[in-house]
């Protein structure tokens, strides 16, 4: 365990408002959001179709009269039809992987970027960040919101950033040692890689000055936390976010580390049954749904995250009054997270369709042999794709691999298998076999 003890600090007064005041604030901001989305053709159409006028939405109690927004809706409005402002007002774009070849694009105005940086500064502060700290960010910088979101959050909190970006573990460790880095930001599985490298190379613990880490971008477990904390002698904090809602900064753990505080002045959270769409009681698991309250460029109403978690409205010992969400325990769709990248089985299907002669019968097998995710796609042979030449067969494998990498961004192993050899349930193939034990 870490010798490091964090101070309980609260960044913004909005984190500890009396519940009544918070609700009044949410109601007022909801009315503003409903007005703002009238600029978005998608929402304008939804409102007129369901007969809701903005005036009918007065308080939080009216929220449930509004329809949900889904990933499919965002995909249909690709790339920018969800914009509520003029493109001239957009300051930055990000994107997340979609279920097919195209990402879902999101946009931020200057104000949105300030809001976002503040939300990240908020959870980082809750999890130990002090202005004198140096933070190494080992997230990808790019369309993915992780790198840039945390980067500006750290800066906004007055601390300093080393934008190491993802990969190159020896260099990450060299930077952490030489720069006497206080905190690490990355995916929990990448932290396991770093830890393993440190152990294997007998790097003494005191060569590093690392005190704590903030992990996000993929689900993980308490066992994994214990393991990383024991191996690295640090404290680990969980945070959550998704680009459709804003990116990282939706919620994060405080010093108590019993659930992630949701920034409720910026988002309304709901927990629903993914089948019936009915609300789920506090403490019970359901799908999380978020409504943004202060986004200008792409406000979003009742976005179905497909992430399964539970909500805890009980007051927290840290003094914050905001509701806490549990870890993400699953998905209500078939999305996979491999090496921190969101992957949908349908993307693999899309890739196979681009390779002539391959069958739509496939199976994705995910394993984590040496703390690294390894994905293998088993593809059933067909007479058309089969060749008596070994060279052509290797070329087929390469072609499939490249098509999959082109769509998902991930290199996967390709295994050619006999027809009808993949397990099928009620005529439908089991698309995903996940052998990963997240420990």
């Amino acid at each position: 365990m870490s010798k490091f003890v964090i101070e309980n600090r609260i960044w913004d007064k909005e984190e500890s408002l009396p519940r009544g005041e918070l609700k009044a604030l949410q109601s007022a901001k909801l009315r503003e959001t409903v007005e703002r989305v009238q600029n978005v053709p998608f929402y304008k159409e939804v409102f007129s179709r369901t007969g809701i006028t903005p005036g009918k939405i007065q308080s939080l109690d009216d929220l449930q009269r509004l329809p949900f927004t889904t990933k499919a809706d965002l995909r249909a409005e690709y790339p920018l039809r969800m914009l509520a402002v003029d493109r001239a007002e957009v300051a930055r774009y990000h994107g997340s992987s979609g279920t097919t070849g195209k990402p879902t694009m999101v946009a931020y105005t200057q104000n949105d970027l300030k809001t976002w940086a503040n939300l990240c500064a908020r959870f980082l502060t809750g999890g130990g960040l002090l202005p004198q700290h140096t933070v190494q960010i080992a997230f990808g910088y790019g369309l993915f919101t992780g790198g840039f979101g945390l980067h500006y959050g750290v800066e906004h909190a007055g601390a300093s950033v080393i934008p190491a970006a993802a990969g190159n573990t020896p260099k990450q460790i060299m930077l952490m040692m030489d720069m006497q880095v206080d905190a690490l930001v990355c995916t929990p599985s990448y932290a396991l890689n770093i830890s393993e490298f440190i152990i294997q190379n007998d790097i003494p613990r005191n060569a590093l000055n690392l005190k704590y880490a903030h992990f996000g971008g993929e689900p993980w477990t308490e066992d994994m936390r214990t393991r990383i904390e024991d191996e690295m002698g640090i404290l680990c904090f969980n945070n959550y976010g998704l680009s459709e809602v804003i990116g990282p900064g939706v919620s994060g753990e405080c010093a108590v580390r019993d659930g992630m505080h949701i920034s409720e002045d910026a988002f309304i959270v709901e927990c629903i049954n993914p089948e019936t769409l009915e609300p789920i009681a506090p403490g019970e698991e359901g799908e999380l749904v978020f409504t943004s309250l202060c986004k200008e460029a792409m406000p979003i109403i009742r976005y179905r995250t497909r992430d399964i978690a539970s909500l805890n409205p009980e007051p927290c010992a840290c003094g914050r009054t905001t509701v806490r969400m549990s870890r993400i325990t699953g998905r209500s769709d078939d999305m996979l997270i491999i090496k921190g990248v969101n992957v949908y089985p349908s993307q693999v299907e899309q890739a196979l369709l681009r390779v002539k002669g391959t069958a739509p019968h496939y199976q994705i097998v995910v394993e984590r042999p040496d703390r690294k995710d390894v994905a293998t796609v088993k593809v059933e042979m067909t007479e058309e794709s089969f060749s008596s030449s070994m060279k052509e067969m290797q070329e087929l494998k390469d072609k499939i691999g490249r098509a999959i990498q082109g769509i998902t961004g991930l290199r996967m192993n390709i295994e050619l298998v006999s027809p009808n050899s993949l397990e099928r349930f009620i005529g439908k193939a089991q698309r995903v076999v996940d052998h990963r034990k997240i420990v």
Binding site: S388, M390, L416, V417, S418
Partner: protein, 146 residues
């Protein structure tokens, strides 16, 4: 002048090849010759059988992926130098061998070499021009049956 070879995809699972051979035997399909090319994960079985259409249907109905591929059979005296002669003829014409295999015919004096070239028509023309004995299917089956 080209022959039909039955090519079969074999997943590297124990018993798969034995299963296939048993299936052909049960159905009185005689394997004239075969060659197996394999990797860690899968193999390609190349078969010369007389009833290739029947064999293909049979294998397919038993869950195998089978395909007919054209190959060329050349008959040679079973002595050194024959293969290198063929290869130099093809090389001179800019044709390359995708794979090849051989078997000795019953009399024991002659060998039959089976080839798959990247350009089959050009390969046939080059071999014919060099007066090398290319076997057609009737001749091949006759040789095999002795």
């Amino acid at each position: 002048m080209k022959l039909k070879q039955l090519s079969v995809f074999l997943e590297n699972k124990p018993g798969r090849l034995r299963e296939l051979c048993a299936l052909l035997a049960e159905n009185q399909i005689n394997i004239i010759t075969l060659s197996l090319a394999d990797t860690e994960q899968f193999g390609i079985l190349r078969l010369i059988v007389k009833d290739y259409d029947k064999a293909k249907t049979l294998l397919e109905s038993n869950g195998f992926v089978a395909k007919l591929t054209e190959v060329i059979a050349v008959e040679l005296d079973d002595q050194p130098g024959g293969l290198s002669e063929i290869l130099s003829i093809e090389e001179a014409s800019g044709i390359s061998v995708e794979y090849m295999y051989a078997f000795v015919i019953k009399s024991g004096e002659k060998a039959v070499l089976l080839f798959r070239f990247d350009d089959m028509d050009k390969a046939v023309a080059a071999l014919q021009q060099a007066n090398l004995p290319i076997l057609d299917s009737v001749e091949l089956y006759q040789r095999a049956e002795g």
